[in-house]
Symmetry: C2
Subunit: 124 residues, 2 copies
Amino acid sequence: MKPLPRHQDPRCVPVRRLLQTIGSKWSTLVVLHLEADSKRFSELKRAIGGVTQKSLTSTLRELERDGLVERVVTPTIPPRVDYALTPLGRTLLDPIKALTSWAIENNDAVLAARARYERLNEAA
Amino acid sequence: MKPLPRHQDPRCVPVRRLLQTIGSKWSTLVVLHLEADSKRFSELKRAIGGVTQKSLTSTLRELERDGLVERVVTPTIPPRVDYALTPLGRTLLDPIKALTSWAIENNDAVLAARARYERLNEAA
DNA sequence: GAGGACAGTTTCCAAAAGATACCTGGGTAT
DNA sequence: ATACCCAGGTATCTTTTGGAAACTGTCCTC
């Protein structure tokens, strides 16, 4: 029974949980790729590129667990599995896009800051 | 020289870098705490609570490296170190707040989804 | 009946993140 | 003098994350 590190800030808990989810390496890419329409597992894998089955599986499980993505099994022969954003997941698109827009627009500024930082600190 | 895993999606690179930075355990808390005014190291540490020196140090270094936070050393005796958001860092406040608002507003929905998920999958 | 697509699972492994604890070295209060 | 504040640094440990590769098992095509 460790005395849970008490974070004074109540903002911490849900915010950290969200950032944990969408901060994982592939989840935002998955969400963005599902915006237009639902996709099958290997469609997603191909579309994203560079992701292993395991990583994609666990990413999808996490998003599914949090109710952001829905796993739709169509019991045809052979069964077909599609992944789609839930309504809740769709409400995340706006904040995520705000963030990705920022990242793209300020990419140069961040890279410049990094270069400057390294110039000042590696030079020593 | 590893042949960098090439991600087809060009959105990936800057977005991943940003999420890497702000997805780290304490960085959003730091940014939010610096919104009103600059703070000293131990002020931040106390205000956030539950963070170790090492984690706070590396968080601040990362934010500084990316040009989001500025480290201001006032050469008084004893020297005094303040951390403040840069103008670039301030532009991140809006997207971050959009995300944190989402997290807080949809906290219940996410928790409900988790409970449902676990009920369905652990039950087996 | 060999091979490949689909949708994974499992095992093993390396790298990164985070926590704990201890050290520095000057300044300040008692 | 002693002990604590500030702003860290270092060393070690555990946990988490992510990647590689192999394996399942059903279906379809050649």
